[in-house]
Amino acid sequence: MIAKNVDNVKQALEGVSSNMTLMLGGFGLCGIPENAIAELVRLGISGITCISNNAGVDDFGLGLLLQKKQIKKMISSYVGENAEFERQMLSGELEVELIPQGTLAERCRAAQVGIPAFYTPAGYGTEVAEGKEVLDFKGKPHLLEHAFEADFSIIKAWKGDTAGNLIFKATARNFNAPMAGAGKICVAEVEELLPAGQLDPNQIHIPGIFVQRIFQGKFFEKRIEQRTITQK
C-alpha cells in the first residue's frame, strides 16, 4: 500500500501559492472541499485561476475567496447566486470564462485520463465557438476543446482510505470525480478517513492512484443552497 494520508489541511495544501491554477470540485455548494477553501483563505494567496463549475455564494464556498479578492480568473459554467462575484465581474476586477457544463466536465476528465483534446457539439454557432476549430462528424459540426491544465485539483469525497481510494455520496460526486488526478497534484478531503483495507474494493469510485494527498476534514457545514421540501 502506498500511503497518501497527511495529518491536516495545512500539510495537504503545501506548495499551493499565488498565481496558480486550481481546480475545485463541487456543484453549487454540494460536495465542495470546505476545509481546503478555508485554508486557502487563511493562506492569503492571490491571483488564483479557479476552475470550478460555480463560484459559491457570497459568504460560503468560493465566495469566501472572492470576498478577499484572491481570485484573478474564474472558469465556470454558471455563476449566479453571488452578488460580490457579479460586482467584481462587471467592474472588470475579475476575469470570467464561461464554458458549457458538459465541456467543463469533459475538459477535467480529459486532463485526468491523458486525452489532450476532443470534439463536442456543445456551443457550436454560439459565442463559445469563437476562435475554435470546427470539424464535421456525420454532417454535424463539433468544436475542438482542450484538456485543462491545473497545478492542483482539490476535491471532496465522503469516505476515503489511507491509500487514497475514494467513495462519494449521492450527487456530491459531480465534478469531484473527473477532477481527481486532473491537476499536477490532487488533494482529497474526506468526511471519514479509514485505514486501507476498510473500504470494499468493489465500491471504490476513484482509485488512489489519482490522489496524492488525502486528509480528514475537521468540520463540514454542508450548507444547503435551496432548501425545498414537500409538505406532509
Partner: protein, 218 residues
C-alpha cells in the same frame, strides 16, 4: 384564457411517453414532473448526477449531498443511480436522454434558442444548456409567449446571444403549442379560450396557421 405556469407544464407533460428518460430544466420545466401520468414509467435526469429523481423531501429529511441542477434538495426514487458530471453529460451527448424540456428567453423560427445571457445585464452562464441543446434530439421549450415588456419571444431571428442552433422542436407557451418546421412556427393548438388572432399578434416570426387550430385539452 392564457395558461399559468402549471397549465404550460400540464400540456408539456402530455408529450412524455412511456419509457422516457427526461431532463427537466429550471423553472416551469421542473413543474412538468407533477403532471406526468402515474401509469407511465419515466425517469427524470438531473445533470448534476442523478437518474431517478424524486420529489422534494419531507421537512427534516433534506440531505445537502442530494440536490438537483437547480440546487434544490430532492429525493431519489427506487431504481435511482448517481454518477459524476462527465458521465452525466455523456448520457446527454450520447443521446441516451429521450426528452429535454427547458426554458428560453427567445426562440427563432429556425429552432435557434437564446436562454443564457443578456449582454450588460445578466451574465450568469449557460450551465448545461448548451450541451443539452447541441445534443438532444427532442427539445421542448416552456416559456411565456411574450416578455415583460409585451414583446414577442418567438422571433424570425434571436436578438440575444444564442445557446444553440436549429434545435428546438416544439414550444408550449401560455397562449399556444407550436411546432418548429422548415417554413416557420406551425400553430398546433390554442390555449383554452385564446384566439388565433391573439397568438398571431404575439408572434413576431412567421406563423403558419392551419384551417383548423384546436384548443388544447388539459
Amino acid at each position: 384564457m392564457a395558461l399559468d405556469k402549471n397549465g404550460i407544464a400540464k400540456r408539456i407533460a402530455q408529450e412524455v411517453q412511456n419509457g422516457y428518460y427526461v431532463n427537466l430544466g429550471i423553472g416551469i420545466p421542473t413543474l412538468v414532473a407533477n403532471f406526468v401520468r402515474d401509469d407511465l414509467e419515466v425517469e427524470f435526469q438531473s445533470e448534476n448526477g442523478i437518474l431517478g429523481m424524486g420529489p422534494f423531501p419531507f421537512e427534516g429529511e433534506e440531505d445537502a449531498d442530494l440536490i438537483n441542477a437547480g440546487k434544490q434538495t430532492i429525493t431519489a426514487l427506487p431504481g435511482a443511480s448517481y454518477f459524476d458530471s462527465s458521465l452525466s453529460f455523456g448520457m446527454i451527448r450520447g443521446k441516451h436522454v429521450d426528452l429535454t424540456i427547458l426554458g428560453a428567453m427567445e426562440v427563432a423560427e429556425n429552432g435557434d434558442i437564446a436562454n443564457w445571457k443578456i449582454p450588460g445585464k445578466m451574465v450568469k452562464g449557460m450551465g448545461g444548456a448548451m450541451d443539452l441543446v447541441a445534443s438532444a434530439e427532442n427539445i421542448i421549450v416552456a416559456m411565456q409567449h411574450t416578455n415583460r415588456a409585451g414583446e414577442s419571444k418567438l422571433l424570425k431571428r434571436c436578438s440575444l446571444p444564442i445557446t444553440g442552433v436549429n434545435c428546438v422542436k416544439k414550444i408550449v407557451t401560455d397562449l399556444a403549442c407550436i411546432e418548429i418546421t422548415k417554413e416557420g412556427f406551425l400553430l398546433l393548438e390554442r390555449a383554452p379560450g385564446v384566439s388565433v388572432e391573439t397568438i398571431k399578434k404575439a408572434t413576431a416570426g412567421t406563423l403558419i396557421v392551419p384551417v383548423d387550430v384546436p384548443e388544447m385539452s388539459l
